[in-house]
Symmetry: D2
Subunit: 338 residues, 4 copies
C-alpha cells in the first residue's frame, strides 16, 4: 500500500502517519515528488489494511498496490478451476448449459422443463424453491416441495439440480436435494450466507450483485473459498444502470476480465441481464464469444403461464433453436459442451 | 394496471390477452388510440400482478396505475408514523440524532462514545456487533460481547441502542440487547430477514440498498409492516453512481419524496453517504433542510485508531460542533430534538 | 399518449386536463379503473407532446404509447439501411471494419497505420484531426494538417476516411477530406451539430453518449435524418456506470435492441468501451455474435508512443491477429466483410 | 505521478518504463514494495501526462498525485471568486437567486416572469433563446427574438439576463444581449464552445454534465479560465443514475466538495435536478444548508401553459413562497442575498 498526502501536508502530519505505521509493526518509506509526499508501506497486509490511515490528518488517499483477494486470484492458481456439474464439468474447456424455469410451480411443470432442456442439450437444470421477490405480495416459492420435484427431475433426466439458497436456516434442507447451490444477486454480500456455503461440499454458483463491482464479486467468492469450499462458479447477470430498455445491463467485459484475474469459471445469465426473451440468443452467443464457461437460461414449458419471469423465459421450441446455435458456437470456440 | 400493445399487434394477440385476463377472473377494457391498442384491467390487484402479461405475444409494456406498496403508503395512513426511540421519539416533528462508532471495538471505546454523543445531544447510540465487510480478512465484529457493552452504555447514559442484525439466526440474541434493529444496506432485499424482524416488537431501522430505487425501499418496508411490525424507520445512506469523489451519492431528494409517498419517518446517514468526515456537517444540515426526521452519524472517541470507517467518523470535538449546528437547524425548521 | 391521474385526483382536476386537451385540438377519452382515472389522447402527436400535461394539478404521469422517433424506426422502413463505405458497404449483411489511430500525429504514423490495417482486412481508416480532451493541457489534434495526411492515406490504400467533426465551423473543412463524418460521444446531443451534418451528403457515424439511453441515441439520429441525411451509422461505445475495471461498460444488448427498433446499421467500438487493449478481441467477437454490422478499433503503429489512447490501441501484430479472428466470425454469422 | 507495475513485471519491463520517462526528460525513481514495483516520476506535468504510460508492458496503473486542474483550484487561489451579477454579486458571501422560464415563449411571458421573480427577490432572470431538446419535433426556441425580449425585461426590472449559448456561431449574437452566458449540461464537454466563451468578458455559468464527475466539471471550467475568462459560476443540476423517481439525482455533496477544491462559486438548479415542482423548495433549502452560493430556478407566469419544463416550474405564488423561505435560510447561514 501507498499513502498519498495532501499537497499542503505538514511535516508533523507526515511524522504522525509514519509513527502510526511503525507502531503497528510496519515499515514506512517516505518519498517526496512534485509538491506531494507519498509514503510506501511494507508489512503484514491484512493488519495494515485494518488501519484507518485515511482518517489521519494530511492524508489524501491510500492506494492499494496488490489486489485485495488472494485465493481466487490467477496469481494464486494459474490453471482453470473445473467444477463438477453432475456427470459433466464446467470450466477449463468444458461448457455448462444450465436451463429451467425461474421458479418451480408444480411437479408437472418441473419434469416437463427438465425433459425439454435435456432434449436440447442442457447439462444442468435450474429451478427456484425459495424466491426473492421485490413484493411481499408476489409468489414466494414452494419450498421443500419444489426441491422434491427438482430431485425427481434429476432422477428422470440425469441433469444435476441448481437451486438458490436464500437463508442459512435452509442450508441442510437444500443440501439434501441440490447439486449446485446458487447464491442470488441480492445475497452476494450476505457474508454469513457466503461463510455457510463455504463449509459444505457442493459447488456454489455465485451471482454478481446488481451494483457490485467485479472486485467485490471476487471478494465475495474469496469468502466462500476461504471458508473451505474451492468450487465456486461466478455468474455475470447484468448490473443496474440508467438504461431502461433492458432490465439490467449485461457487463460482457466482465467475462474476459474475470478470466484474466481469477482461475474460477464464469457463466452468464442472459435472461436476467436483459429481461427480454428475444435477447437471450444474441447475448448467449456474445457471452460464448467473449469467453464464458457456461450459460444459465430461463426456460419454461409455457412462459405465458409462468408465475415469474415469463417475459424472459424461452419456450421449448425457442430453447431448442437457441441451444442449437449455442452448441455450434461452443464448438467454434473450441470448447466441449458438458 | 394497463397493458400497452405493440404497434403491430394483431386482433388475435389482443384477444389472447383479454382471454387470459378473463380466465383469471379480471375484467379487460380495450381502448384503441393512435395506432396503438391499450387494455385496462380491473380485478384483484395481487392476482393480476402475478400474471406474466409481458410474456404474451404482442404486448409492449404493462403500466401500473397504482403504487405497488399499500401499508406503508401515505394513502393508507395520512398521519406520520412516530417511532419510540428509548424515552424519546422519532418522526412527526420529533427529530432523532443517533450517533456512535461504526463497530464496537472495546468496552471502553463504547462507553466513551456513548458518553460524548450523549453530552452533545444525541438521542440514540449506534454501534456494530456484527459487521458486513467486503473483505473476509477485515474485522468482523465482536458479536455478543459487543452487544453487552452497548447495553452497559445504555444503562449508563440512558441512550437507546441501535445495532445491526445480519443473520436471522442471531435474532434472539440481538433482541435481548437492542432497542432498534438495524437492517443494513446490503440486506435491504434479504426478504427472509425482513420477514423475521417483521415479527418482533422492536422498531426497525431499514437502510436503503446501494442500488435500490425508492420504490424498492418502500417495498422492503412493506415486507416488515405486512409481517406485523409497523415501527419502521427508513434511512437514505447514499446510492452507487459513477461519481468517485464520495463513497456514495447522497440522494437528498429521496427525503421529500418518501415523506410525500409514505407515513414512515426518514433519516439520513451522512457518514456512509459521503465517506468523508468533512462532509458530515453540510450533509446533515442539508438533510434537515430537506425534511429528514433524524440523522445517524458515525462518531468515535479516536477515529484515527478506529477498526473501521475512521475516515468518516467525527471525533468528540467535531461531533460537539456539528451536533450544535444540527440542534440549531432542527429548531429553525420547527422540530424538536428527541 | 395516455395520462394517469393521481389516486386522489378530483373531478375538477380531470375536467381541467380534458379542457386543456380539447383547447389544443385533441380528443380526450376518460377511463376509470381501480381507483385511478386515465385519460387517453388522440390528436396531432407533436402538438400534444408539447403540452405541459405533467404540470397540471392531479396528473401523476404521462405515458407515451408510441416511440418518439419515426424516420429511424423499423416501422418506418422495414429493410436495413446500407451505408456506402468507400468502395464497400456497411449494413444489410455487409460488415465494416474501421481501424486506425486515436489521433493523427504525423504523416508517417498515419500512412503506416492505414497500410497495416488495410493489409489485415480493414475496410475503412479512422484518425482524429480535432480531439475532444478532458484536459485543456492535453494534445488537441493537428487540425487541417491531419486531414491532409488522412486523404493521402486514402489515396495510397483506397480506404475511406472516418474522422470526427467537433465544431460546426469546421464542417466545410472536414467535408473536403472525409468519407464518413464522425460525431463523438460528447456531441451526441449537440443538436446544432447534428442538424448541420444532416444537410450534407456524407454518411454520419453517430456515437452513443456516455450516459445516453438507446432511445436518446435514436432521437439524435432522428435529428440527422430529419434534416435530410438518411446515411447514419450508430455506434455503441460503452456507457458510464459504477464499474471501474473498464473505462466504460459496453452495453452489448444495445446491438440487438437497436437492430430490432431501427433500420440503421450499428457498429461497436471495443477500444473506448473497455479502455484496455486485451479486451478488444473478446469484445469484438461478442459484438459480431450479438449482431453488429461493424467495428471501429483503435490501432497504432507503435501504441507505446501514441499521444492518446495508447493503452487501448492494438499494434500491427495484435491487429493482424484480431482482424483474422474477426474475419472468421463474420463469415460464421453469414456476413461479408466489406 | 506514480506508476504501479503488475505483480509479475520483469526487470526489462521496468527498465523500458524508466527509459521512456528519461527519454522524455523526466526523472524516474524506482521503489520496490511487497511484491510490487512502483516508479515515481518527476518532470513537466503536462508533458508526462501526455505519455501513454499505461500502454507500456508490465504497467498496471498510473496514479496521479496532483489534481489535474490548476487555475480553478483552491491551491491556486485561496480566496473565493466573486462574480458580478448585474448590480449584485455571486460568491464570497453573496447569494444569487436566478429565476425565470425554461424558454422564452413571448414578449409578455418574458416580461411577466421577470417582474414577478424580481418582486419576490430574484437577483437575475433566466430564459432560453436556443433550446437543446431531445426531440427534433419539440420547440427549439425563438432565437434572437427571445434575446430582445430578455433585454427588454432587464431594462424594465434591472435584473441581469442569464441565457444559454449552444453554438459558437451564435456567440456574437448572445454577447449583444446577455449578462451571463450559460453553457448547458449537454455542452459541458463541448471544448470548442468552452474555449470560445473563455475569450469573452462576460461571466459564464457552467452546468455539470449528466454523467460528468466533479473532476471533469472542474476540468471544463479550467478550459474557460485558461482561455482568459476567470468569471465562471459552476452549477450542480443533478446527475443520471438508476433512480427514476426524479428526473436526475441531485448530488448535494458536490457543493461542499467543489467549495473545498475550487475558489469558484457553486450554484444549484433544483428544477432540472428533480423535474418536480414540489421538490424545488426542499432541495433549494438543502442546497443553501450545504453551502451553495446561489440557485437557478425555473419559474413561469403559467406553468400549465409552458412550452417546456412546465412540470418543474414554479408559478408566481409558489415562487413567492419559496423565495421567502430561501431568503430566510440565506440569512440563517450568514450570507447576503445579492
Amino acid at each position: 500500500m501507498m499513502i498519498i498526502m495532501n499537497e499542503g501536508a505538514t511535516p508533523t502530519e507526515i511524522d504522525l502517519v509514519v509513527e502510526r505505521l511503525r507502531g503497528a509493526g510496519a515499515e514506512a518509506h517516505i518519498y517526496c515528488s512534485e509538491t506531494v509526499t507519498t509514503i510506501a508501506i511494507e508489512g503484514d497486509r491484512e493488519m495494515v489494511a485494518g488501519l484507518p490511515l485515511e482518517a489521519l490528518p494530511g492524508v489524501d488517499r491510500v492506494v492499494t498496490l496488490l489486489r485485495p483477494y488472494k485465493l481466487v486470484s490467477r496469481e494464486f492458481r494459474r490453471s482453470d478451476t473445473v467444477v463438477p456439474l453432475g456427470a459433466t464439468q464446467l470450466g477449463g474447456g468444458h461448457f455448462g448449459l444450465i436451463a429451467g424455469p425461474c421458479s418451480v410451480e408444480s411437479r408437472e411443470q418441473t419434469l416437463e422443463a427438465a425433459r425439454f432442456v435435456k432434449a436440447s442439450g442442457a447439462t444442468g437444470v435450474r429451478g427456484g424453491a425459495f424466491k426473492p421477490r421485490t413484493s411481499p405480495y408476489a409468489f414466494q416459492g414452494l419450498g421443500e416441495e419444489a426441491l422434491q420435484y427438482l430431485a425427481e427431475a434429476r432422477e428422470e433426466t440425469g441433469l444435476p439440480v441448481v437451486t438458490e439458497l436464500m437463508d442459512p436456516r435452509h442450508l441442510d434442507l437444500v443440501l439434501r436435494y441440490a447439486d449446485v447451490i446458487q447464491i442470488g444477486a441480492r445475497n452476494m454480500q450476505n457474508f454469513h450466507l457466503l461463510a455457510a456455503v463455504g463449509e459444505v461440499g457442493l459447488p456454489v454458483l455465485l451471482k454478481r450483485g446488481l451494483s457490485a463491482t467485479i472486485e467485490e464479486l471476487l471478494m465475495a467468492a474469496e469468502y466462500v473459498v476461504r471458508a473451505g469450499n474451492p468450487q465456486v462458479i461466478l455468474c455475470e447477470r447484468g448490473i443496474r444502470t440508467f438504461e431502461t430498455a433492458t432490465r439490467n445491463t449485461l457487463d460482457i467485459a466482465a467475462v474476459p476480465i474475470i478470466k484474466a484475474r481469477s482461475h474460477l469459471p464464469v457463466i452468464v445469465d442472459p435472461s436476467h441481464a436483459s429481461g427480454r426473451v428475444e435477447l437471450i440468443e444474441p447475448l448467449s452467443l456474445a457471452a460464448i464469444a467473449a469467453g464464458a464457461d457456461g450459460l444459465i437460461i430461463e426456460a419454461h414449458p409455457a412462459p405465458e403461464t409462468a408465475l415469474c419471469d415469463g417475459a424472459q423465459s424461452l419456450n421449448p421450441a425457442g430453447f431448442a433453436r437457441t441451444a442449437a446455435r449455442i452448441a455450434e458456437m461452443v464448438a467454434w470456440v473450441g470448447k466441449t459442451l458438458g
